[in-house]
């Protein structure tokens, strides 16, 4: 094993590289979606794939999301592994029926005879100054749908590893890509990409003893920042990056909260009916007697995603997280 100098890469590049490597390794992997071919996608994530593998393997489809996912179902029925790009989160809604009624259920309906190894890549979340319909966070819809895996990376290395794992999975995976991390950079060796881990394991991004921040995707860097800032206040926060919302890693999460005794769930998606409710409820079910305070939630407001000029007020930021931590009934301690 030769040592290769690490080079900075963006998350978008790592995702593209994951598709490239998957396509090279497995001729059944096909990429499809609006503008994914010639243009390389509006975020350039599929850049170069059509050139390298031809239009048959990386296909500009007609503009119809139900049609894209519906034909992907048929392709998967015939043994292909479609990797579908939805251009923006809100533009995946037209494909909802295909996703819920077919993608999520075909394996079950056929007693396993017809699995659908489809990866649905969905750029999600805000923070990029997008106008309406360009910054939705729709993970709650997918989490509530049995039969789907739902994963989301927060680091460049995870972007590669999780996408390889998603494509390799024999089950459909909704792969949520945090838009505002597309251009985040990390030192990363594209010649020796991180091995493919199975989907379903959370990771402790920062160990700590005072309380646990449970988060995922675009909110991971924010939580890490909050944890640093919290040191000043004397709090040593643990940050758990879920990576996989379905399956959910109860073990890692519960172990952390049992250790710290306090938890805040942080996500950008709206609070009411959002992922945080499920997470807080499961943590409480499992750690009730270890909890010094109720599990709190810091989430987006329950409003349509705000426009560029106001989004900073909506997004869970360091201050709002620290406010929540401050409400974790520390008095009880002293």
């Amino acid at each position: 094993m030769t040592t290769v100098a690490l080079k900075p890469a963006t998350m978008a590049q790592a995702l593209g590289r994951a598709m490239r490597d998957a396509m090279a390794a497995d001729p059944t992997v096909h990429v499809m979606g609006e503008d994914v071919g010639t243009l390389g996608g509006v975020f350039r994530v599929t850049d170069g794939l059509a050139k390298e593998f031809g239009e048959d393997r990386c296909t500009d489809t007609p503009l119809a999301e139900a049609g894209i996912l519906g034909t992907a179902v048929g392709m998967a029925m015939y043994g292909l592994r479609p990797v579908v790009e939805m251009q923006f989160d809100a533009f995946a809604y037209p494909a909802f029926e295909q996703l819920i009624s077919h993608v999520a259920r075909m394996r079950n309906r056929t007693r396993g005879a017809m699995p659908l190894p489809i990866t649905v890549r969905v750029p999600y979340g805000g923070g990029i100054g997008g106008v309406e319909h360009h910054s939705d966070s729709s993970e709650a819809y997918y989490m509530a749908t049995p039969g789907l895996h739902v994963v989301t990376p927060a680091t460049v290395a995870d972007a590669y590893g999780l996408l390889r794992a998603a494509i390799a999975s024999d089950d459909p995976v909704v792969f949520l890509e945090p838009k505002r991390l597309y251009w985040s950079k990390e030192s990363w060796n594209p010649e020796e990409p991180v091995p493919v881990e199975p989907i379903g394991r959370a990771v402790v991004r920062r160990p700590g003893r005072s309380a646990t921040l449970i988060t995922y995707g675009p909110s991971v860097p924010v939580c890490l920042e909050a944890a640093e800032a919290a040191c000043e206040e004397g709090w040593d926060l643990e940050v758990v990056d879920l990576r996989s919302l379905v399956p959910f890693d109860d073990e890692t999460v519960a172990a952390s909260v049992r250790r710290t005794g306090r938890a805040v769930v942080v996500h950008e998606s709206g609070g009411f009916g959002g992922p945080g409710g499920e997470i807080a409820a499961r943590v409480t079910e499992r750690c009730f007697h270890h909890l010094e305070a109720p599990v709190l939630r810091v989430a987006g407001f329950d409003i349509p995603y705000p426009p560029p000029m106001l989004e900073r007020h909506h997004l869970p930021g360091v201050d709002r997280i620290l406010d929540a931590v401050a409400r974790l009934q520390w008095e009880a301690e002293s």
Partner: protein, 393 residues
């Protein structure tokens, strides 16, 4: 040249030089549904394919009996629901017979007969409608996709499958079935468009049976015919008498050949009629009158073919009797096997949600196992142990 590159490099030209991208004329359907039975065209067919005609006849007779038997099973509580294809047997049978073994059929909920005509065991074909949790058959075995209930959603599947086969260089045609009501859904539109753009080897068979549950065609579309939709996608549209098994066989065969030869998709509208109610749960008297049903009974697919075959000396009383006896045998067998309670294991509910159950599903499985054990009165100890396990949830 790869499949997708065949589309060529179309570039938009300014209107002075603009040309239609295809000639629309050949894509338009005839003004009237194509018919063979009772016309001069029947001569040629009868001369050339007597065996085919007899086969169609036998299957139609069998198909009708299948429909009456399945309907009877709903009354005995042996089927949760049955959407009958009585009156539409010619479409069902022709759809199955025009396909090669390696082709694929995409049926809707109304098309179990087509699946059966393709070779599926009727008990398997009826599994979902019986109230079981799965499709009853391995779709790969007979190349029959799972029965599809959400309307028109099976159409893009057929397109994707046919496209995938073509990309792989396999000789596969997909025939997808949908109702007149289903043509109003967005998925119908998207599927036909993808198929035409990709030149996928697909045949879309619309059974226009006049109604979508209670809603007559006039409230569904204002088009001259449903086949006229084809030109808007750049594919041929064909209109055929859906109760004329021979005409159907001819039109569908041509469409399948066209697809197989790389000519792309075809939309076929078969004009037919649903003689029974929408399903056993429906009351058709609320929205249509008997005289209309009677008019269609006069145009019965079996009678039409029987008349022709008899007139041509291809069928005699013995032949009719033999066909009916075969059908009765099938029905008796179906009845008997459907009258046995299927063995269902509730634990199977968790078995195929994912390739590997999630930790969450494992917990739920444990819980249900404990409950079932308790129900079945296992020993107090075993029950308690299982319960404790469930508790950890």
């Amino acid at each position: 040249m790869t499949v997708m590159e065949q589309r060529g490099a179309y570039r938009p030209t300014p209107p002075p030089a603009w040309q239609p991208r295809t000639d629309p004329a050949p894509l338009l359907p005839d003004a009237r549904p194509y018919r063979v039975l009772g016309t001069d065209a029947a001569d040629a067919v009868a001369d050339a394919h007597p065996a085919l005609l007899r086969r169609l006849y036998a299957q139609l007779v069998c198909g009708r009996r299948y429909n009456t038997q399945a309907t009877a099973l709903t009354r005995q509580g042996r089927l949760a629901v049955y959407p009958s294809s009585t009156g539409q047997e010619a479409c069902e049978v022709a759809a199955a017979l025009v396909l090669e073994d390696h082709d694929w059929l995409f049926p809707s909920y109304r098309d179990t007969l087509a699946a059966v005509a393709r070779g599926l065991d009727p008990v398997q074909a009826l599994t979902l409608l019986r109230g079981d949790w799965h499709t009853g058959y391995d779709p790969h075995e007979h190349r029959v996709a799972p029965l599809c209930t959400p309307l028109a959603t099976q159409l893009p599947h057929a397109v994707g499958l046919a496209h995938a086969a073509r990309l792989k260089g396999d000789d596969v045609v997909a025939l997808a079935m949908v109702g007149d009501g289903g043509t109003s859904e967005g998925d119908f539109h998207e599927a036909l468009n993808f198929a035409a753009v990709w030149q996928a080897p697909v045949v879309f068979l619309v059974q226009n049976n006049g109604y979508a549950i209670s809603v007559p065609l006039a409230k569904q579309t204002a088009a001259p015919s449903l086949a006229h939709k084809a030109v808007g996608y750049g594919m041929p549209g064909r209109l055929v008498d859906g109760n004329d098994a021979v005409a159907l066989h001819e039109v569908l065969s041509a469409a399948v050949r066209h697809a197989r030869a790389g000519g792309g998709p075809t939309l076929v509208e078969a004009v037919t009629y649903r003689i029974d109610a929408h399903t056993n749960a429906d009351d058709a008297t609320r929205y249509r009158n008997d005289s209309e049903v009677e008019a269609w009974r006069e145009h019965d697919p079996i009678a039409l073919l029987e008349r022709e075959l008899t007139a041509r000396g291809l069928l005699d009383e013995d032949g009719v009797r033999a066909a009916r006896e075969d059908a009765e045998a099938m029905a008796a067998d179906l009845r008997e096997r459907m009258n046995q309670d299927p063995a269902l294991d509730p634990m199977d509910l968790f078995a195929h949600v994912y390739a590997e159950p999630t930790p969450q599903l494992l917990e739920q499985q444990t819980q249900l196992r404990a409950e079932l054990d308790a129900e079945q009165g296992v020993t107090a100890e075993a029950g308690a142990a299982a319960h404790a396990e469930g508790d950890r949830r």
